[in-house]
């Protein structure tokens, strides 16, 4: 744990957990986008993810740990950082030298965190309840219906879309930045930057598209 005791250690830990969450996001997106193309395939994959013991009892706790770690560490760092300048500037032109995204990771992060609360309430809590509390019978075909049902309310779709815009902003800075944190800044950095920007725009847009698609259908 000596690594997370230092500023650079914590920064690398943020990067690693961030990259891990990006991987999770990619996987989540790949499954969700299936719902646009095929109801059956979506149900099949969802059923696998929901009932495979490795996914459920190993990957899921790791994911929860990753999410918690990223958020808690993010808040801890933010707190420390704000303490490192006790008297604030009366005039501070942040936009002159850094992007809005990079300066407001804590805010985009808070929006994403609130959204995750909603998301847990929408999907994860009912799912846990279904499987492990009430122990209802297995139904491999319920997933698509549940998904579509959630996108009935235009209000929820709007919140969903807004959250993903913030996720995009968070990613635009965070994804590329995680490479810098891990010490990768070389001739490939431009390519990495283009890729991460592309990813940060396309994946959240994709999620919004899925929500709108089901809402409109």
């Amino acid at each position: 744990m000596t690594l997370t005791a230092s500023s650079i250690g914590r920064k690398v830990a943020m990067a690693l957990s961030g990259i891990f969450l990006v991987l999770f996001l990619t996987q989540h997106f790949s499954i969700n986008i299936l719902s646009v193309f095929s109801e059956n395939l979506f149900n099949e994959v969802s059923h696998f993810m929901g009932n495979n013991p490795i996914v459920q009892f190993i990957l899921q706790p790791i994911l929860i740990f990753g999410v918690l770690f990223h958020f808690i560490m993010g808040f801890v760092l933010e707190l420390q950082n704000s303490k490192s300048r006790k008297i604030k500037y009366s005039s501070y032109k942040g936009s002159a030298n850094a992007s809005w995204m990079s300066r407001n990771m804590i805010y985009s992060g808070i929006v994403i965190l609130s959204f995750l609360g909603l998301h847990f309430y929408d999907f994860w809590v009912p799912e846990m309840n279904y499987k492990y509390v009430e122990v209802l019978p297995l139904d491999p075909n319920r997933y698509f219906g549940e998904l579509v049902h959630k996108f009935h309310s235009p209000f929820r779709v709007a919140i969903y879309a807004l959250s993903f815009i913030f996720l995009s902003l968070h990613l635009v800075h965070g994804f590329a930045s995680s490479f810098q944190s891990m010490g990768i800044n070389n001739k490939y950095s431009k390519t990495i930057k283009s890729f991460t920007t592309f990813f940060s725009v396309v994946v959240p847009l994709g999620f919004i598209f899925i929500a709108l698609f089901h809402h409109l259908n």
Partner: protein
């Protein structure tokens, strides 16, 4: 030109400071910012007001002593300059200019715009050197050829003037650009490579103890650095640090 200046006044490190407003007339566009401050101080003295304390020395952009936060930016609106190289032609008649000290917990205010940057010295004392004795009985300077590319990069990192603009600018008051410049200079040269592991561990430890914030890669430091020190150095330090930590 005529200007309105809002300047941070603080009698000493213990007292509370506040912004004061002053008017100054007939400023020549060819003046440097500090020359404008000289004129203002002469004016304040004739009015019986204590002149504004500010750090400055070489006035040619190399000593790193001047340290003003002007209109929300370290060393003011121009790029690749220190405050002493900022000229009044960058401003317009009638402008209001806000002047504050470099602010960070690790840089306590001494008086007005003067701050204590000895934290930087202590970081260097923790490891910013090559442990050779100064007897001159080392091997010939040309004994180890050094790749020009690496030598140039080491030089670029070494041009840091230790002014603290990176800390002042960073929204987290992080000193990563400063520390990484030194770490990079030495790790790029064979002479410094030998003790690279200990150096980076010790310097980062001291940096953390001084109360600087954490780096969040906003890149503001690189933009405001009067010597254009690159973020690449921070990545290099992260790498060196990771390697050193894993090596134990």
């Amino acid at each position: 030109m005529n200007l309105t200046l809002k300047v941070w006044r603080q009698a000493n490190s213990e007292s509370k400071g506040k912004m004061e407003t002053y008017q100054i007339a007939d400023v020549s566009p060819d003046m440097s910012f500090l020359e404008m401050m000289d004129v203002l101080n002469e004016q304040l003295m004739t009015q019986g007001i204590d002149p504004i304390a500010f750090d400055h020395d070489c006035r040619e952009g190399i000593c790193g002593m001047c340290s003003m936060f002007i209109n929300g930016e370290a060393h003011g609106p121009d790029r690749l300059v220190t405050t002493c190289q900022l000229h009044m032609r960058k401003f317009n008649n009638g402008d209001t200019i806000t002047i504050e000290p470099f602010r960070a917990k690790a840089f306590p205010v001494i008086k007005d715009l003067t701050v204590d940057r000895s934290a930087f010295d202590r970081v260097q004392q923790a490891g910013g050197f090559v442990s050779v004795n100064t007897s001159g009985n080392t091997q010939d300077a040309n004994a180890i050829p050094i790749d020009k590319h690496d030598a140039d990069k080491a030089f670029d990192a070494a041009t840091c003037i230790g002014c603290g603009a990176c800390v002042a600018t960073c929204k987290n008051a992080s000193a990563m650009l400063f520390v990484s410049a030194k770490v990079s200079q030495y790790s790029l040269l064979p002479q410094g490579k030998v003790e690279a592991t200990e150096r980076v561990m010790n310097m980062v430890k001291q940096m953390d103890e001084e109360g600087f914030g954490n780096c969040t890669n906003t890149g503001a430091c690189e933009v405001e650095c009067p010597k254009g020190i690159s973020l690449e150095n921070i990545a290099r330090m992260n790498r060196e640090y990771l390697y050193a930590s894993l090596k134990g």
